[in-house]
Point group: C2
Chain length 233, copies 2
């Protein structure tokens, strides 16, 4: 086993970084389905079989890019949150939404890899991706939890119907150590899915022929609806 700081180990790390970098570039220009290990190898100046020393398969390269994407999105959200007053709960939620939209529009191919169609025959291995994948929703939950504790959210505190749903939500509440009521968890799950729905709609061009001078204006309206949907002022 080579030492961690041996020339060979450092060269290996550099090659790994190059593979991810070139892979990201191909992803951005050609999309996930067209991502080719052979093309990455060519750009690296290697023969195709050589990259299999670093990446076990095309799917593993996809996993690397998935983790890379989740991390970058998480960083974008955290950066946006850094300049928001922590007691401005609606502002924090809005900032998260804007950050997700901004990153999605800037990196549509990676966004599609994370939130678009599952690549057939490929399932992102949970142990490698969930850690980075839950960062955004984690930040959202933090906002709702903080807002609830501060009494800034108006929502019913009664159990939802039917009881089996109430049980599931209560279990999630317990497992995550939350103090927000069940109804807010349900509303949070809605807001989470709806937020990405709005961003996906715009990134994938599903609005179709409807054109807007400044699409961000419409998104701000959507954000207001999202903030409203969880009972934030």
């Amino acid at each position: 086993m080579p030492n961690d700081s041996s020339p060979r180990a450092r060269a290996r790390e550099q090659t790994m970084r190059d593979i991810v970098r070139i892979g990201r570039a191909h992803l951005a220009t050609d999309g996930a389905a067209a991502l080719s290990l052979r093309a990455v190898a060519r750009d690296l100046g290697l023969v195709s079989s050589a990259v299999y020393r670093y990446v076990a398969s095309r799917d593993e390269l996809l996993t690397l890019l998935v983790v890379d994407g989740y991390d970058e999105l998480g960083d974008a959200v955290d950066t946006a949150l850094a300049s928001v007053d922590p007691t401005d709960f609606a502002g924090r939620m809005t900032a998260i939404g804007r950050a997700v939209r901004g990153w999605g529009l800037a990196e549509p191919a990676t966004y599609a890899l994370l939130f678009g169609s599952p690549v057939p025959g490929y399932e992102a291995p949970a142990e490698q991706t969930t850690g980075s994948g839950v960062r955004v929703v984690g930040r959202l939950v933090e906002v709702w939890e903080d807002a609830w504790r501060a009494g800034a959210i108006a929502v019913d505190d009664e159990p939802l119907k039917p009881r089996r749903l109430s049980r599931d939500l209560a279990r999630i509440r317990r497992e995550m150590g939350l103090s927000v009521p069940e109804a807010l968890i349900a509303r949070g799950l809605f807001a989470w899915a709806a937020l990405f729905g709005c961003v996906t709609w715009e990134v994938f061009g599903q609005y179709g022929t409807a054109t807007f001078a400044e699409p961000a204006d419409l998104f701000e309206q959507h954000l207001a609806a999202l903030v409203e949907s969880v009972g934030l002022a």
Copy 2:
């Protein structure tokens, strides 16, 4: 030119139907990216080059499947609407939502083709797909328009800010001949994107490890939030 009802023409139509049918089967089992003209040809008992007599390219087969999918989804929505009291506006909107979710869960691969990542290098030709693609949102608009005319929707009738957004919404209103106020158009666009966001989240498994005894229960909560978001009782 062969007659429209000549044996050759009828055989050709049958072969076209077979191609779409087999293509749908492969789509369902292997996904869009793995859709292979050669495999379709094998299942048809033809050599690969022969199917090019019917379908110009793999992308054209995808287009056929896109149109087929939009039509099937539109039929599902129309069927669901047929058994709803037309004056029950919230019920109509709920029925549309349930139909979209039900179809998406039943046909995840086709759903992914329509609402997931755009296939790289492939853009669905608008002239062939938009006709079927706007059916669902068309039904939604009908509900909101009817509800507004019946006075069943509570929403501000003042122009939205900024003015450039107001102009765009007013233009859409004029072009579609709507009587609903601008704010309701914006809320409708939100509800549209959010609805498909919720369905996509479930079809693509983005809820992750959070499990529900009956996911439909959660979706019903989401539907309530959607109905609420457009100002319907």
